[in-house]
Amino acid sequence: MGRRRKGISSESITLAVFCSLQIGIMGVFTVLRPSFLSGDNLLGLLNLMAQMALVGLGLTFVAVTGYADMSFHFVSCLGGMTMSYMIARGMAPPGAILIGCAAGGFFGAVNGFMVGKFRLPDMVATLGLGAIAFGMAYLYSGGTQIYDNFADSGIKLLYKARIAGVPLPVVLMVIAYAIGFTVLDRSALGRRFYAIGSNATAARFSGVRVERYIVAAFVICAVMACLTNIIRMSSLAKGEIEAGLDWLMPAYSAVFVGVSVFKKPTVVGTFLGALLIGTVQKGFMALGKPTYVMELVMGVLLIVSIVVSRIDFKEIVRRRRLRAKIASGGGAS
């Protein structure tokens, strides 16, 4: 009883498959463009994946509770434009970033209430609220770009600053993942998120305040999306209303590549997903391919990872072992 089961777990199989895939892809790009493996390029890869990883981390919380959020990319537009408006009004960057994220958090909370408390269908309800958020993002400037104060308010540092040579977004990614991992994988809070995703009724009967956790998951998702979009706007040096719209696909792809490895949404899995997708993106950029090729590859990745996540390696191993045991005349356990 005190001993853990031995043998190959399904996780280690898929993890091995994943690692060879990752190395293989990097190998292909290195052959095509030897500079792919240079330190600068790898740092650039990390910087590219950092934003995707941050949105994906937020979405992981929603995915763990068993819901879907179709609004975070819309909400991130509102968060980004709110931040831009505050910067243009002369507010200091930290305050503007906070207010931008808070605006997103509000919409996340509304999502959580709609889905958790009033049991509205998650896809449609969040899509509707997302449209509202996107509409509201136009209110600040009527849809035109916001440049005022971007050059000299210091907001650009959010993207440009380096700590010991490492870009600030990468540092933020590492910090966010450390916190995310601690919360979801190591804490009582994380257990409750997972319990809800697995069986919300049983979680409630076990004393979990289900609605609160659902609201929290949607708030985290929205805030992370806003933060990411704010980083992107600081890199663009302007408030661009549509800057956040293309977060939906990469975020879901990152989460589901992770699910294909660990059979459930996890922080580590999402990180690996973002790494894989980032590598592919960076590779195509190095080869000078147009962006629609990336979209195409991302779509393929998403579908392949969903297919892989359905394969139950553990069950296959278990059956094989049991058959061998019976064949050798082993007794019952």
Binding site: M1, R4, R191, S333
Partner: protein, 504 residues
């Protein structure tokens, strides 16, 4: 039996932690109705699933009409001529009767878009139906049909296969009315005359003597007895004895000696439209039993006590302190735990491990400041609960979904024990639990009652009666009996729950 239709020998089927079939034997003569009996978990449904290809046997062989066959999928079973009609036959409600009968076999011609000749199908379906003493409109969507008509269509579907020789009926009468049962029996007799062998699974012993030629009793994954229903000395009592493998009375632990101090006191608790104002007290060392049929309000009473449903009136006190009843979280914090009646949806997180489930309601015990979980402490605590309740699992990291019903229930109970509450409510404590584990759970409940207030609630009258020291009966939302169990007989309690009368 000289003319064997089906013979199964040495069938072994193992699930993680439990051997559901352990060298089971079963045979079936041509044209006989053979009843298959056994309590939940005895292995009879696993045997049928092996025969119908839902499960694959780990060992053993199956012979049909003298030829050895391999059944690796439901399609294999159908192709061999073995048809199974489940308790609640699955059909496409919007399709008509004849469309359901020939579902998947609509056309003889191959190709991407085979032609369906509706008139021909309907004529064939009517020809099948002529053999039966019932008149069903085969052109109506089955969603509009009565239970027995659906059952008949499921049987017709089985008959539509040319070579069908073995028909398995899995508790066919459980959803039928008395009159419909007669119709079904008439059909079974006709099928039998045409040489089809029938395996008949049921819990209703009187049906066995009415329809079956032979019977086989399963217990602990093996066939323990096979005999003719006309054999001398075979009666209800003997069969029950074979099924249980022990005297009925030994199942329950001895009653409590005397009521201890009051722990839970409920005053005027009510949920409008579900149950009227109810007051009772639960004491240490004195199990309170609440019996009621489905719809009597017992389910709502449990859920209201646990804070799942919002009461419309009343108060609850534990050890003299008022308990908030806003949510299960409040109830658990107040020292009350419900082991819910519907284990799969309310009790367990099936995909997660035993230890995950055990500590879920009281994670503060293994985490500093209620945040980071000390995984070593989690493991130690889970192992000690597993040992205390004798939960059979290879490891505490095993997903709960892979355990047997009884062990799953023990995990849910373990989760409750881990909260170290003051009051424990067990709702339908042994649904889907095999008899060995049942006794273990009864003993555990009795043992627990020495220190905690225990309430058992359920619709299994014998179980509630066997366990409790004080008997309450609910009928249509009202308490109709409330007296010490020693002053009540089992049949009085049952009658009271059925009619609402005779409780005074």
């Amino acid at each position: 039996m000289e003319d064997l239709s089906l013979e199964m020998t040495g069938i072994v089927k193992e699930f993680p932690g439990v051997r559901a079939l352990d060298g089971a034997e079963f045979n079936l003569a041509r044209g006989e109705v053979h009843a298959l009996l056994g309590i939940n978990g005895a292995g009879k449904s696993t045997l049928i699933k092996v025969l119908s290809g839902v499960h694959q046997a780990d060992a053993g062989q199956i012979e049909l009409n003298g030829r050895r066959i391999e059944i690796n999928s439901p399609q294999d079973a159908i192709d061999s001529g073995i048809a199974t009609v489940y308790q609640d036959p699955q059909m496409i409600p919007s399709f008509t009767g004849y469309e359901n009968i020939f579902l998947g076999a609509e056309s003889d011609s191959a190709g991407l878009f085979p032609r369906i000749r509706r008139k021909k199908l309907l004529a064939r379906a009517r020809a099948l139906l002529e053999r039966f003493p019932v008149d069903i409109d085969l052109t109506r969507p089955v969603g509009e049909l009565q239970a027995v008509e659906k059952e008949s269509i499921a049987i017709l579907r089985a008959l539509s296969r040319e070579n069908m020789s073995v028909l398995v009926l899995d508790e066919p009468t459980s959803i039928l009315t008395r009159k419909e049962i007669e119709i079904l029996f008439e059909q079974i007799r006709m099928l039998k005359e045409s040489g089809i062998s029938i395996i008949y699974i049921t819990h209703r012993l009187d049906e066995v003597f009415r329809i079956a030629d032979r019977l086989t009793v399963f217990r602990d994954g093996r066939n323990v007895a096979t005999c003719l229903t006309s054999d001398k000395g075979v009666d209800h009592a003997r069969i029950a004895e074979l099924m249980l493998g022990r005297e009925l009375t030994n199942v329950y632990p001895p009653r409590g000696r005397s009521p201890g101090d009051a722990v839970l006191s409920v005053r005027g608790l009510a949920l409008a439209g579900k149950f009227a104002e109810t007051s009772f007290t639960a004491r240490r060392g004195w199990i309170l039993g609440v019996f009621g049929l489905v719809g009597s309000g017992i389910d709502e009473l449990c859920k209201t006590l646990f804070g799942v449903l919002r009461r419309t009136a009343g108060t609850t006190e534990i050890n003299g302190r008022k308990v908030a009843l806003g949510s299960p979280s409040d109830a658990i914090a107040g020292g009350l735990f419900l082991v819910p009646g519907d284990r799969r949806t309310e009790g367990q997180i099936s995909d997660e491990s035993v230890s995950f489930n055990v500590i879920l309601s009281n994670m503060a015990r293994v985490s500093g400041m209620g945040f980071l979980i000390d995984r070593r402490a989690e493991r130690t605590d889970a192992v000690s609960i597993v040992e205390e309740l004798d939960i059979k699992t290879p490891d505490v990291s095993e997903p709960v979904s892979l355990l047997s019903g009884g062990n799953q229930q023990k995990v849910v109970i373990g989760k409750g024990l881990y909260t170290d509450g003051e009051v424990y409510i067990f709702q339908e404590p042994t649904v889907g639990v095999d008899v060995g584990a049942k006794t273990g759970i009864y003993e555990m409940i009795r043992g627990l009652s020495a220190e905690k207030a225990v309430i058992v609630v359920g619709s299994d009258c014998e179980e509630i009666y066997g366990l409790c020291d004080h008997a309450m009966v609910m009928y249509q939302g009202k308490v109709v009996m409330d007296k010490p169990a020693s002053e009540v007989r089992l049949d009085q309690m049952l009658l009271c729950g059925l009619t609402g009368k005779g409780g005074q």
